[in-house]
């Protein structure tokens, strides 16, 4: 099973700590000082409506519409997750339209190359931009999960999913017993 991060709307307080942690985890080590409104593109987004506050992000679908939609096989299944091979991304935005959750985006970043100690600009490079479960952080896991002050975010893997299902079945059984009684 692919792992994914889920948000519990009955715990989320809409504080956006997760958004900053996400942007920082993908800042190539630039640190907070690299953050600015123009370039702030977290892969997790807090959404607030009249009745709900919660965070939304990639579900790492098992049969992912974005994977299926990509004409250049830039989106792949790897390490129990859906990952983008950025060098293959064309920026065609098929995946953006295919994702039913609105959590895939295409962004452009300055493309540069290092040559003889100089940084050469090569215009811009498109990137399919979405949650990568912070795989670069290794065992530290997704940055958003680790900072959420109310523990509204959880990393769901097979084990966590099984535990959730077990609890749901138990509750269903108890409710059924109540109805019968």
């Amino acid at each position: 099973m692919n792992r994914f991060v889920t948000a519990n709307p009955s715990k989320c307080i809409g504080c956006r700590t997760c958004e900053i942690a996400c942007a920082l985890a993908h800042s190539e080590g630039a640190g907070v000082e690299g953050l600015a409104p123009e370039s702030f593109k977290p892969r997790i987004r807090m959404v607030k409506t009249a009745d709900v506050s919660t965070a939304v992000m990639c579900h790492h679908c098992e049969d992912a519409p974005c994977v299926n939609a990509c004409p250049n096989n830039a989106i792949v299944y790897r390490q129990h997750s859906v990952q983008v091979e950025q060098e293959r991304c064309l920026g065609c935005k098929n995946c953006v339209l295919a994702c039913p959750f609105g959590v895939m985006d295409v962004v452009t970043v300055p493309a540069v190359r290092q040559f003889a100690g100089l940084t050469l600009s090569l215009g811009v490079k498109a990137q399919a931009h979405k949650c990568d479960l912070c795989i670069e952080r290794g065992d530290a896991g997704p940055a958003c999960v680790s900072v959420c002050p109310t523990s509204a975010l959880t990393l769901m893997d097979r084990e966590a999913m099984d535990e959730t299902l077990r609890r749901r079945r138990e509750r269903a059984a108890l409710e059924a017993a109540e109805v019968a009684a």
Binding site: S10, I13, G14, L24, L35, V52, S53, V147, P149, T150
Partner: protein, 723 residues
Amino acid sequence: MEKHMAVCPYCGTGCKLNLLVEGGKVVGAEPLNGVTNEGELCLKGYFGYDFINDTKLLTPRLRNPMLRRSRDAAFEAVSWDEAIQYAAKRLGEIKAKYGPDSIMTTGSSRGTGNETNYVMQKFTRAVLGTNNVDNCARVCHGPSVAGLQVTLGNGAMSNSIPEIEHTKCVLVFGYNVADSHPVIAKRIIKAKERGAKIIVCDPRKIETARLADLWLPLNNGSNMALVNAFANVLINEGLYNKEYVANYTEGFDEYKKIVDKYTPEYAEAITGLPADDIREAMRIYAAAPSATILWGMGVTQWGQGVDVVKGLSGLALLTGNLGRPNVGVGPVRGQNNVQGSCDMGVLPTEFPGYQKVTDPEIRAKFAKAWGVDSLPGEIGYRLTDVPHLAETGKLKAMYVMGEDPAQTEPDLTQVRKGFEAMEFVIVQDIFMTKTAMFADLILPATSWGEHEGVFSAADRSFQRFTKAVDAKGDVKHDWEIISLLATAMGYPMHYNNTKEIWDELRGLCPIFYGATYEKMEGLGAVPWPCRDLDSAGSKYLYEGNVFQRPGGKGLLFATEWRPPQDQLTEEFPLILCTVREVGHYSCRSMTGNCAALQTLADEPGYVTINPKDAKALGIRDQELVWVSSRRGKVITRASVTDRTNKGAVYMTYQWWIGACNELTIHAVDPIAKTPEYKYAAVRVEPIADQVWAENYVQQEYAKLKGGLSNAVTRAAKKAPAFA
């Protein structure tokens, strides 16, 4: 990488954290397992440290003392010697000419720490010879202190933060915990998971309202009517604890007489709430085996704040929800050390440790300890009196430390006039602020992260924080600056470190005596009262239901509801209520200089408005609009949201362009002198030319920022020797 233990400088939760330091620079923060935060931080705790590094995103850090000899001159950098001599001379002259009561000082409820506050009030009382010392508790939880001191005898939270998650009912009144104290919000969520019932009284659909079992969206300005109706239900439905009331309270008959009129039906007309919801709330509250009331600015920032605080404590007394674990009354302090500045006696009425200036024995004790013949016994001025006192010539000099009244006080036009009228203004801060622009002398201090000390969390817990990096520039610790000034004014004052100060004040304050630096080592927290060296402090107050009043009983007190003071008219048909937002803090001099926090929210800020009101005015989401009141007019951005109730609009108070305090009214509570920030009549107007408006905002913002940073750079250039 080095790690230095600190306490978050942003809110009263008092989260413990490590500052991560590399090459003399703070590069990160990680949570520690402190008593109040248990390994959590919110965005300000995690990402709110880079202001220390002088990012200049909003304002520059101060590096040198700066002086201007006349108000139309530019600041020039001067040596400490010159700055201190100048200050001593001017203050001395003013004191000689107009008397000690013509001078006022402030403590700081922010990063300076308790020791500095102690030294500031000592300077004010022993050296200047006046009780004119106050802090920004005046504009926030002043009414909680004033109210609770009368009814229960102690102005602080009766419970501790960790207890909140073990209570069976939380009554949240005028308190947006998600935005004010995110880590306390987690306690409420946990309480709910453990089966607690949550009742929220707030006109807006705040985050906790979303999670509540019962949400009472009362009309803005109807608090007292609702609290009286609550008491009415408890009494008339026989839900109150008769035994508790008989044994531990007084004033019941008088109390009953007043609340009798406030039947839920009567209150319905004032509060706009269905009578049955009012009943239901009290049935839930009274039925819970343990219940806790938490409140914030929605209770205190009113012309009738003190009365409502007394009323809320009455509900706890009626139901016996005091004096044991997991119950109580919690005025949850906003700024990180506003509890501390009150503890340290930066109040015109009290010495440190809540000892009254009007008590001759107490005065004699402090006079002896401080080596002066006598200390002033008359209650001093309040911070909110300052503009008026200055304009009428009673106040001639002001020494502002670590506060920015030209941003945070109500009716800023008045505030500016007040500063202009004064003969001598000293501002001691870490940043160039709007207030500093009115100063004659600016004294640069070290920041949180650059000094150590003790903070008091909202729940009375003393916690130590340490220094992480050396300060840059020619700056000094706040308490060192004050000591130098005292010495220059003929009162030799010298401390080697904060522990020396702490031990002096501990010795003078019986309720703090047992809270030693040793006990606060590492993650240690000591909640006062802590009278003995072998005591661990008091998690909750009023053990055994003994109240800290003459006779030991709690006082039941009610009074009639009074409508708010500003008048809605056709010209000004909407209510403006000022609020907080999660990512920014106080006047924003700190958070506005943090890249992450600034990225989430920047000028001109927002006015939130209900879709129906917006539609009627022809205003669309995210458009710039004008907001005006009888006192001023500002530009800001509309956020159209269903979470805002019809008829009211909300603005956060930290913006320079969208500065809501240009609009607020200087109407204060008669006792606490806390302003009615929660109710000003305003008008909101669309702007046809949005392109012009966007440019205007950018230009004004650049102008303001430029003014402040130029003042600093120009001063350094004029006297390069000290730069």
